[in-house]
Structures are given as C-alpha cells and as structure tokens.
Point group: C2
Chain length 404, copies 2
C-alpha cells in the first residue's frame, strides 16, 4: 500500500491517466470531478478524437481488469465548499492531487463569460482545497498542476529556474542583499494568470498554516495513452484537437492525417516546453513520494521533457507525414520569436528519464490519429479566440469550401 | 469641470470622504456600493463610533450644502457583473476609483466563511472591473487602493520601493542581467493576499489590453473627518474601533477615552505605515490628475505619510492622555519586531505634504473620541481573530467583570 490520494479533476486529460497510474502503484485512489470538461465539449460542439467512456464505465472497466476500486465523487469544488469539505473529512487522504482547473488558454480568452468562468473556477477550487485542509487540520501533501506558461516566454538568454529565482538587490552606498524570491511571473492569458495567482495562495498557506505543497509547472502535454489506459477500450484517454483545447502538436497530427497543411501561428518561432502524458503520471508519482516537510515553502518543480520551437515541430511532422506547412496569423499576443531554456533538474534528480518527441511521436500518430481518423471534424481545428480585439485569429481556409 | 469618476465602494471609510473631496473639486461623481460594510457591522454587532447617516441622507446633505449631485448605484459588483457593466456602459466615466474590497485583515482571518468571502468579493470585484473596461472598450483610468501590507514586514534593512524592484539576476559564467520586477510580495493575511493577487491582475490587463491603471499601496489610515465631511452632521465619516475593523490607533484612542490601558499586541515592536484620511482623499485626486498612458505598466505608488513603531504610538498617546499601556498576546503571525522604511517619493514629487500624527492626533482625539465617548462599547475592542489555531488573541481583561 502506498497511502490514499484524492484526485481533484480525475476525469480529465491528465487526471484520468494519473488516477490509473497511482491506482496501479498501490495507492487507494478516489476522484472528485464535476465533469465540467465534458460539458464544455458539449458547449463547443467538440469532442475527443478518441471515444471516451463515461466515468462510471471507466471505473467499472478498471475494476474488471485490475480488481481495484476507485471511488468517484461528482462534486463542483468551486461551487460547493461544504460537500467538498465533507468528502475530505470522510476520506482524510494522505495526499491530494489538484488538476481541477479550466486548462485551456484560448478558451480562457474566448470572451467575457469564459474569462469569468476561468477565474472563478480556478481561484475558488484552489482556495477551497487549501481552506478545507486548514479547516480539517488535514496534514495532507497537496500536489498541484501549474504551467510553464507562468514564467512568460522571455527573450532573455537565461535558463528558467524552478519556481524561485536568486537575485541580488542593490541598495544605497554600494550595499546589496541576496534573496531567493518567487519567480516574477508574466502570464500571457487568463488561464496562465490563474496559475500565477495559485502560486501566491500556496506561498501564503505554506507560511501561515504550514501546509505541505508541491506545485508542478508543466509544459504542453502530448500523447494520449499510457500503459494503464491501454488495458481496456473504455479506459482510453481523451485526445483534443479543437481550436480551444487541442494543443499545437495534436493540431498538426490531425491536420496531417486529413491532408491539411500544418497551421503554424505566426512565424512558428515560439519555443514551448513539452512532456508526454505517460511522464505526467510518472512525475506526479515521483512528487508524491517526495513530500516537503511542514513549514517548508512550496516545492516548485518544472515538469517538462524538452523544449522545441513550433516550426521545428511542424517540420518534424511534415517529414514524418509528407504534410505541407502553412503560416497563419497568430491569435495570441506574444513575441514572434523566443528562446526557452528551462530547468527540469528536480525531476531528473528524482530519476525521470522522459520520453522525447523524436522517439515516440510516430507511435502516437499511428495509435491514435491513424486509428480514429474517421472521427475528425475539420471545422473544429482553427483557433477562434482572440487575445485582444485588435488581433485576427489563425484561421486556415477550409479547402472543401467551408468557412474561411 | 474635472471629468467624471465612478467610485466603487464610495460609501466606505475611505470611499466616502474621497467621493466628497472629488465632488468638491469639480468631478462629476457617481458611487457604486453594495453597502456590505454596514451589513458586516450588523453581523459583528459593532457600529461606527460616529453616528453615520444612510447613504441617501448623506447624498441629500451633500446636495443641500453644495448643490452638487452624486449618483448612487446599489450594486454588488462581485455578484452581478451584468448590472455593473450596464452602469459602466451608461456612465462611461473618465476614471474609476476602486475601494470595493473587504478591507480588514482580522476579519479576513476570522474563519472559513470570512476567508471565502474576502477572496470571492475582492478577486471578483477587481476582475469584473477590469473585464467590463475591456468588454466596453472603456479607456478609463483605474485607480485602485492596495495596501503597504503586500510587501510583508521585512526585517531586512532596506527602503521598500514603490511596487517595483530593480534586481540583478546572476547567470552562469559570471554573467548577470538587470531587471525591474514586480516587488516580490509576502502578504500576511487573506486580506493582504487579495491585494497581491490584484497586482497580478493589473499587470496582465495593462499588458494584454493596454488598460491604464494606478495601484496605491496605502498605509493604515487614521483620522475621521475631512473638510468636506465636516460640512454637515449627516456627512460624518465612520470611526471603527471594534477588534476587526478598528485599526491600532483607533483602539488606543478609545481605550484612553474610557480609562483602559492601551493594549499593545506583543512587544509593540511592529513598525507600520500611517496616513491621515484627509491625505487619502488628496492622494486619490493627485493620482487622478496624473494618469499613465495606454501601454504603460501599472503605476504603483506608496500612499503613506510616515512609519511608526506601535509601542512608540502607544507612548505618544499615553503621554497625551495619561493612559497606561498593557502588553497582550499578539493574535497575528508575524515577526515581533520589524523595521520599516518605505518610499513615498511619488506622491511627494506630486506635491503631497502629509499630515503627521504628532501634529494632528490631539485634534482627532477631541473632535471624535471626546465628542462620542458615550457611544463606546468596551466589549467590541478586543481582537478576536486568530491567524492560526496555535495562537491566542490579544484579549485584555474587562475590569468591569465581563469576558476575559
């Protein structure tokens, strides 16, 4: 046995495979999820490329192949503090993994309602979790999923550290002091902003209430299946390729599969951090095995395997599939080109040997995009969210004559 | 004419005298307030030492003595984005002054409900304001009241700068870069935390949407009346002395008036920043006259007249009134002693010559505490909020035999 863990947002893209991975590792796992991600799909008229089963079917399938039970609580943590607190009081888990935030940057910038929803949901879910731990005097280890996007994409030639930064503060008369500060974040969307806000919540609650917190700033997750989700068709993980939730790599794979050019936003000079979904689950397990002590400031690890320039990624997939590349307007407000060097030393020190794009991307393409190609709806691919009203979105003309 | 200004939270302790001051200066003033501060008084069983009139009586009195109209909108900005947006769309003010946040640190730490309320109200009010400005393409100057408490009370011997900090970031191979960063805040309560969160909202919206924002980190406000509130009895400002909303100076004045010892929390070695309420209103007027340009990062000014050690303040009042001093447990989780040197250069450059405690405190004592002494309820004075469950509050024995 590995103790008990409550997974907030355990029905989502990262939460689900993590729940299965921890269950297979001997943790007693329970999931809290309001299934909001499925409802957002309904609103957007989008759906996972892979046909995902209901949470009940998922849990039944896991029981049938492993004999292990995962409990499920259908609670909206942001809206219903009381019921969430009751579950926590009843379970008193040794650890909590918090994925329960709206996680799409384009969705968070879509309009007033989506901005409000993202702030409300993400701020309240994080705060209710911290508050319930204090309220119940629950000495659990809280592991939270942040994003590498909080750092902002600097054009400065420096290695981005893990959550904290050593600085020298010049004073008068030639004096100076050294300090280690929370990395000064420059979030680029409402979604990323919520993860910066989360950092301040964690700093406060670790200091005031001695909560034990690990915050994982994760890169863009790619890949779909893990050893656990492959064990039964009803365990399959989601694969999003719509303009809001589909990240750049998925968009390229889907475009290649249906003979579209790969739509690169702007010059493709943006460098991003990436990690495979299997490593997401492994990193969470590593973080759980290495909790901070009470009174320690929050541990912040960068959770990424590698950084890649978007156009290099497009070229890699073009070589692999024969697809063409189309450069379209960038809907985001960001620098056209940026370097990105980011430390992942903490997880490497804990033994992570991550899966790299070069070696595994072809498997992903065949296993998912090849298998479910017939389910692709080309209308869903273009990004529709504008960061500001002065921008135009990166829409590629639908050659079949649809919208432009 | 000085343009139009919408004052969010214009019925409160700082908002009300600011509304009158700006009205007297020729601004067309409108107030949005949900009157939450009055309802919190009801819940706490507390009330202002000065008998404050209803908002309707206040506005009628102002009209009667000046002939000037101030419009009032009874809207809960946090709860009702739609109605707030409608007012903003209708008014399209040239400036917005944002006081509409729960502003007591002890209240924000009282319990789960108060923590949740403070986060929800303060985060949503700030975000709804920013969002409505973007939504309506309203190029107004937003002036927000922050707190000097965001900086944390450092024991380091350095002058706290105004919102930003120049740092040197050491890199490898002896290289280093210079940067100006948002001051790394260390808020000490949920209330203070919300003002740190606000800073990140402002950074994002100034960068992404080119909103023009001035954030004023204000010290502890003391004093009650201003030239405008003295013009009619129904215009009198609030004076809070209860354990939640009464700040240290008011507590001392009330204790002295009823023959109690002045209750100093801990050693009284805490140094705090102070400003008189008349200067609050003047500083807002100065900020309004000096707006940032679109695209500029938020201007952050420290709004304080002076810093004082709490026990020095107690001794000053003891000398003035003959009161004794009692040292009681500190309910807050903070360093026993701290230095505090804080720049107020921006407002001095704009011409502020602030009122100092030494020269004006005696007037305040006679004018307010002397005049309304009979309304003092000694039961309300002690602080009741604990920062963590390991602390005991700073309760002084009620010599009349009440609770201890």
């Amino acid at each position: 046995m590995n103790g008990s863990v409550l997974i907030l947002g355990g029905d989502g893209f990262c939460g689900w495979p993590t729940a299965l991975h921890l269950s297979s590792q001997g943790y007693e796992v329970a999931i809290v999820d309001n299934l909001s991600r499925r409802r957002i799909d309904d609103r957007l008229g989008a759906s996972s490329l892979t046909p995902i089963a209901s949470i009940q079917e998922r849990l039944a399938a896991w029981r049938s192949v492993t004999g292990k039970e995962i409990a499920f609580y259908g609670i909206d943590i942001a809206a219903d503090y009381g019921r969430f607190r009751d579950v926590l009081a009843d379970q008193r888990p040794g650890a909590i993994v918090h994925f329960a935030e709206q996680r799409s940057a384009p969705y968070s910038m879509k309009g007033t309602d989506e901005k409000n929803y993202t702030i409300d949901n993400n701020v309240r879910t994080t705060h209710h979790t911290l508050l319930a731990m204090v309220d119940l005097a629950l000495d659990a280890h809280l592991v939270h999923l942040g994003t590498t996007g909080v750092y902002g994409y600097s054009t400065v030639d420096m290695m981005i550290t893990e959550g904290y930064l050593d600085v020298v503060i010049p004073l008068d008369e030639g004096r100076s002091i050294r300090d280690t500060i929370l990395y000064p974040t420059q979030p680029g969307s409402i979604y990323h902003l919520t993860k910066s806000l989360d950092q301040l919540f964690f700093q406060f609650y670790a200091q005031n209430d001695r909560l034990r917190i690990t915050d994982l700033h994760q890169g863009i997750v790619w890949g779909t299946q893990t050893p656990e989700t492959r064990r039964h068709p009803a365990l399959v993980n989601r694969f999003d390729y719509d303009g809001d939730y589909g990240t750049v790599l998925n968009r390229f794979l889907v475009e290649a599969a249906i003979g579209y050019p790969l739509t690169v936003h702007g010059s493709g000079g943006q460098t991003r951090a990436f990690i495979n979904i299997q490593d997401t689950a492994r990193c969470i397990a590593l973080a759980l095995q290495n909790p901070p002590a009470a009174g320690e400031k929050p541990r912040i690890f960068n959770q990424l395997a590698e950084t890649k320039r978007v156009r290099d990624l497009a070229e890699m997939i073009a070589r692999m599939t024969g697809a063409e590349i189309a450069y379209v307007d960038n809907p985001r407000k960001e620098a056209a080109e940026n370097e990105l060097a980011m430390s992942n030393q903490s997880f490497r020190d804990l033994g992570l040997a991550p899966i790299l794009l070069e070696e595994y991307l072809f498997t992903e393409t065949i296993e998912i995009v090849g298998a479910y190609k017939d389910r692709i709806d080309p209308e869903l691919i273009p990004a529709q969210s504008l960061w500001t009203t002065g921008h135009r979105p990166g829409v590629v003309t639908n050659r079949a004559g649809g919208r432009s």
